[in-house]
């Protein structure tokens, strides 16, 4: 049965335990960084950072400053546009048991820009050493061994929950009702389409540009499909044929 992660950002204190836990478990190398006047560090997701706690400050109309935290990573879309956009068989696969979208070593031969631009959440990154396209894999090795994904395990605030999708949807609905009592604008981000569901207390745009799917180029007459997704789907067979000809 498909799995899901619920991330309740109202409980997140931005301790970055998930970010560090992910990096430790994946044994990813350190990256050079510098102070940019924010705790968000490194500045963005990268080939060696599959999880990043984003910090977003903004001022309310009454002059109070709000600080929102958003532990960003792959959403493991139910119908993943990146998978539809892949031109090589087996480069991007979806694990049937969990629903995890997994990038294999074959992604080294994929066109990075196509895969990146097909993602409505701006997740894929390219490893300059291996040329592979990389991202969170829902800790598929751990989940298959009946262990929690590392980010969920390391969350000290109980902001992250992992389990059967049906159970997580139920939990999400319960939490939403509770949170809306204090934050009427609270909502669940794209819960119908993704396996990593975020509960935010305010307008998602106040957390991260890509907190919800980027639908700025949504196709008229094709509800639910963005131009990126449409193009990825249309050109996938062509790219596949080209790759085959190139060997």
């Amino acid at each position: 049965m498909p799995k899901a992660i619920l991330i309740d950002t109202t409980r997140c204190t931005a301790c970055r335990g998930c970010q560090v836990g992910c990096k430790e478990w994946k044994d990813l190398p350190p990256v050079a960084t510098k102070q940019r006047g924010t705790h968000q560090n490194p500045p963005d997701l990268g080939p060696y950072n599959f999880k990043l706690v984003r910090f977003a400050e903004h001022m309310e109309a009454d002059g109070t400053v709000k600080w929102n935290f958003f532990p960003d990573a792959c959403r493991h879309c139910i119908d993943a546009p990146c998978k539809s956009g892949a031109s090589i068989e087996g480069s991007i696969i979806q694990d049937e048991a969990t629903g995890a979208v997994i990038y294999t070593e074959k992604t080294a031969k994929e066109d990075f820009e196509t895969i990146k631009s097909s993602c409505p959440y701006d997740i894929p990154r390219k490893d300059p050493k291996t040329k592979r396209i990389v991202k969170c894999d829902m800790c598929i090795d751990r989940v298959r061994a009946n262990l929690l994904p590392m980010c969920v395990k390391s969350c000290a605030m109980g902001a992250m929950s992992f389990g059967e999708r049906a159970d997580m949807l139920k939990l999400a609905a319960t939490r939403l009702v509770a949170v809306q009592k204090e934050f009427p604008k609270a909502q669940l981000c794209d819960m119908e389409n993704v396996s990593v569901i975020y509960l935010v207390a305010d307008d998602p745009k106040k957390y991260h540009k890509f907190a919800v799917a980027d639908a700025s180029d949504a196709m008229k007459g094709a509800p639910g499909m963005t131009r990126k997704e449409m193009l990825a789907g249309v050109f996938a067979p062509l790219r596949k044929a080209t790759k085959q000809m190139q060997g």
């Binding site: 009946n146 929690l148 395990k153 605030m157 109980g158 929950s161 992992f162």
Partner: protein, 305 residues
């Protein structure tokens, strides 16, 4: 007191899921799992359909309870679980064939027992009393050990279902004893579970410790670093036995009173296995503990295999 009572349907699903996983992970234990797995699943079905506590309402005195008087101690002298003998013949019709299939060497004895129950040679009342170890009637073609085992397993689903109702009476009351808050039984299993508290504080990764009653499967919280056998809290006296390949399974042993209790550490597990199936998979650990001179606080049906 924090308690854990799984929903009936999820309990059955949990048994089936945990059994399938255990068979894949531990093929060496497949004879054991294939014998007791179907029995546990059938008992879960019986528990689901069992009537629960239908006896007179029990008034629990919070002060007495807090001082250690478990729920059944609040009934009249000699009181215990409600008589379930009326349900036992029907339960025997479904459970004994499963047991015969699970334990082929005892199939003839289970068949003889089934006939004795059907003919009335063994009354339901005698069967229930045998299940609680109060009587030892003679049944032709059935050894006393087989009769005791079958009767105990027939009674178990009804006891567990009644305990669920009785636990509801004391769920909000504190309980610091190492015996069961419902029936006073000793624990034969424990688990460390992360409990998602609805507050804004840092949550312990290790989780709280729940003890599980060997008699009625009630679970209740108890302090983590303490021997449930003698209360010893000396770190040098408390030993944790583990198989390095299965870190989530452990036997918490005490050098002072020489007892041990199996423990499932669920803190890192994505899917928490059913406690009975988990205890089955921990049989090698229990054997290891016994070889080192420790004794279980209470046994499982398979403990002496």
């Amino acid at each position: 007191m924090q308690t854990a009572t799984p929903e009936a349907t999820s309990a059955l699903r949990g048994i089936e899921t945990a059994l399938a996983r255990a068979l894949t992970e531990l093929p060496a234990l497949s004879p054991l799992l294939e014998a007791f797995g179907p029995l546990l699943a059938e008992q879960a079905r019986l528990r689901q359909a069992a009537p629960g506590w239908t006896g007179p309402a029990i008034t629990v005195d919070p002060d007495r309870f807090t001082q250690g008087a478990f729920v059944l101690a609040h009934t009249q002298v000699g009181g215990g679980f409600e008589d379930m003998s009326a349900q036992l013949p029907a339960a025997a019709r479904t459970l004994l064939p499963v047991m015969a299939k699970s334990f082929p060497a005892l199939a003839k004895e289970f068949s003889a027992l089934g006939k004795a129950i059907k003919s009335g040679a063994l009354s339901p009342q005698d069967l229930a009393a045998t299940g609680f170890g109060e009587r030892q009637p003679e049944v032709p073609g059935v050894s006393s050990e087989t009769l005791a085992f079958a009767a105990a397993e027939l009674v178990r689903p009804f006891v567990e279902r009644q305990a669920q109702d009785l636990l509801a009476l004391v769920r909000e009351l504190p309980w610091r004893q190492t015996c069961c808050p419902v029936c006073g039984g000793a624990p034969n299993m424990s688990a460390l579970r992360r409990v998602n508290e609805d507050d804004a504080f840092i949550q312990a990764h290790g989780g709280r410790r729940f003890l599980r009653c060997a008699c009625c499967a009630t679970e209740w919280t108890h302090k983590r670093v303490s021997c449930p056998g003698c209360g010893c809290e000396e770190p040098d006296e408390l030993v944790v036995l583990r198989d390095p390949a299965r870190q989530h399974e452990r036997a918490d042993a005490c050098k002072r009173c020489k007892s041990f209790l199996l423990c499932l550490d669920t803190g890192e597990l994505a899917d928490t296995p059913d406690p009975d199936i988990a205890a089955l998979t921990m049989l090698p650990l229990a054997i290891q503990a016994k070889e080192q001179g420790f004794k279980p606080l209470a046994e499982h049906p398979w403990s002496n295999l």
